[in-house]
């Protein structure tokens, strides 16, 4: 068990990680057998061993955690990270504050990534035809391919090194063809830009200047390139600290409710087809006054807009608001929308004078973005025609996530030879000849570019546990060196030496690796002029929306994205940030549509389209557009997956190249079956408890009475006055106004505090262990507010006085301490906790996990035994570490020295932790700010965690 007195271990020797019998484990065993005789108290601690380094690396001090900079790329866009390492064992991911795509924050995927490193399903050896083989054999076998027609299938990449390797391969192998595939590719956005400007471009936003934001089917607060930055800027634009502060306004038009949708001031739920029409309608209004916009375009827009006429008033109001804020608005559209819609939006931003202020255009950092190589069609054609000598699938999982009608699974066999570099024996590993285990990001050297082009480095924190290889290493093999091919470290170093030149290279290299990024490498933005003619032609061709058939929306999943995280227990257990559905995916329907169809939650529907069909359980979703059904991609994985196999249903089975995102022609049939869904939250209604649980108010009202929550920010009269405690008094403030509910904090907390996973059944039974959860509450039809709920560290804690053994009590510095090793598990504290933030170990959850999975455990936090209560500790291990550190250095603890895991991860800085006894501390200021309140204040629990009321900024025109 990984805990305080684990021996220092060299990470390179996996076999040394032997789970030794710990005292606790032993006690538990004994307790179980003799327990009731009380004998367990007299069980000696078992003997243990210490394994020191034989040669201690200079950088390591056993017991002192180190942080290393690296970066994680999703679909080619890199985000800078800092990874915590304990004696060479990465355990926790944080954002890299210096990195333009992170600013110190992280999302759920960055947080969850570290668990995948210790995924027991990871492939452990090179294989040929299912038989174990050696890397050398593979490498030599592929050294001589110069003559062959080799097709490479990669994920989209921005890596300078990889681009360089691709170039060299193209020279070395004339017949080489490169394809880039991502199921949630940005092709439509790039095509849209090409349509408008004649070349594929990425749009860069500056929301810090934006007063009005219109997001059309675009979840920019929780996904997409640089979303962490957008979320931060958006939040800064509405962080009210006084009644004079101004606040941006967000309009959202979308089908299924997204994190962005829940943050909106006005949200319009539309069927996919109506979204196109609404954009046209808005554009019509916005472009009306535009000189150089051809009148025919307006006509075309008017025709295209007809299906959205019913929303004319809404559109008019939004358009007026945008026009009233020329140069201070942003219109953004999601990658799922057709190119024409993207083009229309570009036109709107130009017409609104937003370009060069809040909106800029720049060439994508992605290699060959928008070119034919990014369309799988080419490869499919070649395979079908049998023109492929060799197929190298390096990364990704195309057989699983390619379009159903392309049927890649069958076609791969048509190649005369094939290799797949992948993380585990998954769908794609099946049909290929060679399989090479892919190195995890934290085992790899590499580079990439952030959304703005900034070059970011990835460095390994641990040697490949199972001899995994990086894409670059495999590519190098094809350059003819075979087994002599350099490792990723040498490849990267040599490449950059070549770029930088030998002089001063070592210093340059050292600093880049240390900081994880290269300064002044952002891609400059460019002036653009729009081609109105092409735009008009495109609008003319916009498809008329289908009749009122039920429209089905396929989308990337908030948790498992395109399926690459489908074997990550943390992300599967994490409740969907909006629907609160944990583990499986489900067909989301509006309540109205469900009654129309005569189905109820957990009923299983059969969806069929062109002979393919899937069975999927139904779930009523708040804010879902009537007449639409939303289904997440990325579930129903096959292959050897310890956790994710057959979790949810595979929606790719219905996804075709013709209708990749929306489809109005899918047939529904009721099966009469039921499927038990693991819903983490069952009740979303506040039952008229707003003033006790969740304050929200319109900006107008707030300005009239900024201290409208004051009466809930003061402790009620009490018999027992609070004694003055230690000089430091810990507290937290959470701003509900900027919290989007993205749930990054939840995974961060899980990673930091060894929070166990209980599985689908556990969640269904109501036994989830998350110390920090994000509650969702309904307010009106379109609003679903987020409220992070964690231990409030009450100064008059109801949990404490009911504990018979002093296992939970109060520290002098204001922490509600939970002492696991003293807990006997009466669960009285949980009953008496009005916030229900206490979690109980109904079974021994951590005993079930493999030694490999244990490696992710944080050695600074006790691993809890069966039968004990646990809860948020305000990351007390970080507090005590900081205090000890300060003590050794004989100085005081400074504000900001200590940041809880949730605070550190939060993209919008909604969570602030600190010493509330320090008048100068940020947290103190927020605690006494306007709109600060205590949840359930009248119970007299005097919580240390305070919330800032959510302020909405409705458009007076639309406000009911």
């Amino acid at each position: 068990m990984t805990t305080s007195d684990d021996p220092p271990i060299r990470a390179r020797r996996l076999e040394q990680f032997r789970p030794e019998v710990t005292r606790r484990g032993f006690m538990h065993a004994m307790g179980a057998s003799f327990g009731l005789a009380g004998l367990s108290a007299c069980v000696r601690a078992p003997d243990k061993e210490i394994l020191p380094y034989s040669r201690q690396p200079p950088e390591v001090t056993p017991g002192v955690a180190k942080h290393y900079a690296t970066s994680m790329s999703i679909d080619g866009y890199a985000t800078g990270l800092l990874v915590e390492s304990h004696e060479g064992r990465p355990t926790k991911v944080e954002g890299n504050p210096d990195h333009p795509a992170s600013l110190g924050a992280t999302g759920i995927h960055e947080q969850g990534m570290v668990l995948s490193l210790y995924d027991p399903s990871r492939a452990r050896a090179v294989a040929r035809g299912g038989q174990p083989a050696r890397w050398a054999a593979f490498a030599n076998a592929h050294a001589t391919m110069a003559a062959a027609k080799v097709h490479f299938l990669l994920e989209p990449t921005s890596s300078p090194l990889r681009v360089n390797l691709i170039g060299r391969i193209r020279e070395a192998i004339p017949g080489a063809t490169f394809h880039f595939h991502a199921p949630l590719s940005r092709n439509r956005a790039w095509d849209g830009a090409a349509l408008a400007f004649g070349r594929p471009l990425d749009v860069r936003y500056d929301l810090s200047l934006a007063k009005v934001v219109l997001a059309v089917d675009r979840d920019f607060l929780a996904s997409g390139p640089g979303w962490l930055v957008l979320a931060r800027q958006f939040a800064d634009g509405r962080r009210l600290l006084g009644q004079s502060d101004s606040m941006n306004r967000l309009y959202v038009a979308e089908t299924a409710l997204t994190v962005t949708g829940t943050a909106a001031d006005h949200r319009l739920a539309l069927r996919p087809s109506q979204i196109v029409a609404l954009t046209a309608l808005l554009a019509e209004r916005v472009l009306a006054g535009q000189r150089d916009a051809p009148p025919e375009l307006l006509g075309a827009l008017e025709r295209a807009a007809s299906p959205a006429r019913e929303h004319a008033a809404w559109a008019a109001a939004v358009a007026r608001d945008l026009l009233a804020n020329r140069g201070a608005g942003v219109v953004t559209v999601g990658d799922a929308q057709p190119p024409a819609v993207h083009a229309i939006v570009h036109a709107m931003n130009i017409a609104l004078g937003n370009v060069d202020r809040t909106v800029r255009y720049a060439p994508p950092p992605i290699f060959e973005a928008g070119e034919a190589s990014h369309d799988l069609g080419g490869l499919v054609g070649a395979l079908a025609a049998g023109q492929v000598d060799y197929l190298a699938i390096l990364g990704g999982n195309p057989v699983y996530d390619a379009y159903a009608d392309q049927d890649l699974g069958q076609l791969v066999a048509k190649a005369r030879g094939s290799v797949y570099l992948g993380p585990c024996a998954n769908e794609t590993a099946r049909p290929v000849d060679w399989f090479v285990p892919e190195a995890h990001l934290l085992e790899s050297w590499g580079d990439g570019r952030a959304f703005d082009g900034t070059v970011s480095f990835a460095q390994p924190l641990i040697a490949p546990l199972f001899g995994g290889r990086t894409v670059d290493e495999v590519l190098a093999v094809f350059l003819g060196q075979g087994a002599q091919a350099e490792g990723s470290h040498a490849l990267l170093r040599d490449y950059w030496r070549g770029k930088h030149g030998a002089t001063g290279f070592d210093a340059f290299w050292e600093s880049t690796v240390r900081r994880g990024l290269m300064d002044r490498t952002a891609i400059p933005t460019l002036e653009q002029r729009i081609a109105w003619g092409r735009l008009q032609a495109a609008v003319e061709k916009l498809p008329a929306s289908p009749a009122d058939a039920l429209e089905i929306q396929l989308r990337g999943d908030p948790r498992v994205y395109d399926g690459r995280f489908a074997n990550n227990a943390w992300l599967l257990e994490l409740p969907d940030p909006v629907t609160q559905l944990s583990w499986d995916n489900a067909a989301l329907l509006s309540a109205a549509t469900m009654t129309q169809l005569g189905v109820q939650d957990e009923d299983v529907l059969e969806l069929s389209y062109e002979g393919r069909s899937i069975r999927v359980p139904v779930l009523a979703a708040h804010g879902q557009a009537d007449g639409s059904l939303t289904l997440s991609l990325g579930y129903g994985r096959k292959g050897e997956l310890a956790v994710g196999r057959d979790v949810g249903v595979n929606a790719y089975a219905l996804r075709t190249s013709l209708a990749p995102y929306a489809n109005g022609r899918i047939a529904l049939t009721k099966t009469g079956e039921q499927f038990p869904l693991a819903r983490a939250q069952l009740e979303f209604d506040l039952h008229g408890r707003e003033d006790d649980i969740f304050f929200h108010e319109s900006l107008e009202e707030y300005r009239k009475d900024p201290r409208f929550t004051a009466h809930k920010n003061t402790a009620p009269e009490t018999l027992y006055d609070l004694k003055p405690g230690a000089p430091r008094q810990w507290g937290m403030s959470i701003d509900l106004g900027v919290c989007t509910g993205c749930s990054a904090c939840v995974v961060a907390c899980q990673a930091e505090n060894n929070v166990p996973v209980v599985g689908r059944e556990g969640v269904r039974k109501g036994r989830r262990m998350h110390w920090l959860r994000v509650d969702r509450y309904e307010a009106g039809e379109e609003q679903l507010f987020a409220e992070p709920m964690l231990c409030q560290h009450c100064e008059k804690a109801p949990c404490e006085y009911v504990c018979p053994v002093n296992a939970t009590n109060h520290s002098a510095d204001g922490l509600n301490q939970m002492v696991y090793n003293r807990c006997v598990g009466t669960r009285f504290c949980s009953n008496n906790c009005p916030y229900k933030v206490r979690r109980f170990n109904f079974f021994n959850y951590t005993d079930d996990i493999t030694p490999l999975e244990r490696l992710v455990l944080n050695p600074d936090v006790t691993v809890r035994d069966r039968g004990v209560m646990e809860k948020c500790s305000y990351c007390v291990q970080r507090i005590r570490e900081a205090e000890i550190h300060a003590g050794v250095e004989a100085r005081a603890v400074r504000d900001g020295d200590i940041r809880t895991a949730c605070e550190q991860a939060c993209p919008t800085k909604a969570i602030v932790f600190g010493n509330v006894a320090d008048a100068g501390a940020e947290v103190t200021r927020l605690r006494h700010a306007d709109r600060s309140f205590a949840v359930l204040n009248d119970l007299g629990t005097v919580p240390r965690t305070r919330y800032l009321a959510r302020i909405r900024n409705p458009n007076p025109e639309l406000a009911r």
Binding site: A32, V824, R838
Partner: protein, 467 residues
């Protein structure tokens, strides 16, 4: 010479106010009562076999729970307490009638106490044994139960006495000890009687061993009477205190539906209610099977039924007051609990079962004809016990299921193990109970003789009026 004073006047069997029918002489009376022990009916062994088997099943379920963790139950967060604590409160409640009858009625010098007190006290002891199982079993780590006891540990840490759980530990163990002493003290003279009456030597030895060498000298008797009186005087407030403390397991918490000032009296009434019911449930068949109609007469049934009616009415009143206070307080959480959650929430069924069993059923006891009909009475008592179990379940679970933050609301479904343990304890209880009536004179012989003597003193001959 030893013949009883001749019975004269009208037949007494149909006089529901007679607590002892006929004037059996010392010997007959002793013979009848000791007979139950010296030559027990054959069927009792079968009963012991069956109940013993159920007991084994209970032990199996308990072991499984301890080894695997209480995840094998249906509990969750928010419903962290459910069956275990419900069973605990139910059993401890049942355990209240016994001591109440023997102690309280002793102080009031009620003659009708005599025939049933031994019986009721035994029932108390065995009910408390069942109850005592749960506070330990429901712990996440039962093998550390002793941390609730203040002993000097190497950790220098102590129990936390502001919590009601240490109160429970002390209250329940005190209650068990005192009830045991009270019961055993009452047994001693009768054990001596059996010792002296038993034909076989081994029986004399065994009963002699437990009779502690009793010889009814006048001096011993006088000390005995005082000690017995003192124990009665101590046990009476004890009974009240114990269930008051049990009720504080909920009342000191702040959950809507738990945080209520009327809980102590409300719980005590409920306890006696179910306790009297249990006494009757056992009494009626035993009385029939052992042909004890002459010592356990219709009068006893009638009076017990009246007690049930009384305590039942107090319970019904408490329900009303609870709901009224919730409404009157205007507190949003209390109101939701009492006006929505309980009566129409996911577990509303339990509430209505409670109303039917605890409020409506006892109303039939307003009529003497029904009070004195053993069969009907038996049915009523069964309903009352079902109702009282459901009441505790409702109080505990509904309050947890829908407390302050709707986001954490959840309902509860018991697991198979939950059920096994509940019914297992019933089997265990009956096993111990029949073990008792097989080996111990379950109707106090000496006291009955005393009563009979008193009756003779009061009225030479003639039928004797009960209290």
């Amino acid at each position: 010479m030893t013949a009883a004073v001749p019975v004269q006047g009208i037949r007494e069997d149909d006089r529901p106010d007679v607590v002892l029918i006929g004037r059996p002489g010392d010997r007959e009376l002793t013979a009848q009562l000791v007979g139950a022990v010296l030559s027990p009916p054959p069927w009792i062994n079968k009963v012991l076999l069956v109940t013993g088997f159920v007991t084994l099943i209970l032990f199996a379920a308990v072991t499984y729970t301890v080894l695997t963790g209480i995840g094998v139950w249906g509990n969750n967060i928010p419903v962290a307490w459910a069956f275990a604590i419900t069973n605990f409160v139910w059993w401890i409640g049942i355990g209240h009638a016994g001591t109440f009858i023997s102690a309280f009625l002793l102080l009031l010098e009620q003659k009708w106490r005599t025939s049933i007190n031994r019986f009721a006290e035994a029932m108390t002891l065995f009910a408390v044994v069942q109850a005592g199982l749960f506070p330990v079993l429901h712990l996440g780590r039962p093998w550390f139960f002793y941390w609730l006891i203040p002993y000097p540990s190497t950790m220098d840490v102590w129990p936390q006495f502001r919590s009601s759980l240490p109160w429970d530990v002390v209250a329940v163990s005190t209650y068990f000890t005192v009830s045991l002493l009270f019961w055993y003290l009452g047994c001693i003279p009768d054990l001596a009687t059996v010792r002296d009456m038993a034909p076989e030597k081994w029986r004399r030895r065994v009963y002699g061993f437990f009779a502690l060498g009793w010889r009814g000298t006048a001096r011993t008797w006088s000390r005995y009477r005082i000690a017995y009186g003192i124990l009665g005087g101590l046990a009476t407030p004890l009974v009240i205190s114990v269930h008051s403390i049990v009720s504080m397991d909920f009342a000191i918490a702040q959950l809507p539906g738990w945080h209520s000032i009327i809980f102590p009296p409300y719980f005590v009434a409920g306890a006696l209610f179910s306790g009297f019911a249990m006494v009757l449930t056992l009494l009626i068949p035993i009385r029939r099977l052992y042909r004890l109609e002459n010592v356990i007469t219709t009068a006893h049934l009638d009076l017990m039924a009246k007690m049930i009616l009384l305590t039942g009415s107090i319970v019904a009143y408490s329900y009303t007051v609870e709901i009224f206070l919730a409404w009157y307080s205007g507190d949003v959480f209390e109101r939701w609990m009492h006006l929505h959650s309980r009566i129409q929430g996911p577990l509303a069924a339990t509430f209505w079962i409670v109303v039917f069993c605890n409020v409506l059923t006892p109303q039939v006891l307003w009529f003497k004809r029904w009070r004195t009909s053993p069969r009907l009475l038996f049915v009523v008592t069964i309903f009352v016990q079902l109702g009282m179990w459901m009441e505790r379940f409702m109080l505990i679970v509904t309050s947890e299921a829908q407390d302050f933050l709707p986001s954490s609301w959840r309902t509860y479904r018991p697991s198979a193990i939950d059920m096994t343990i509940l019914f297992g304890t019933m089997g265990f209880f009956l096993f111990l109970f029949f073990l008792l009536i097989k080996y111990v004179p379950f109707i106090p012989i000496a006291e009955l003789k005393e009563t009979r003597f008193k009756i003779e003193e009061e009225t030479r001959g003639g039928p004797v009026m009960g209290p």
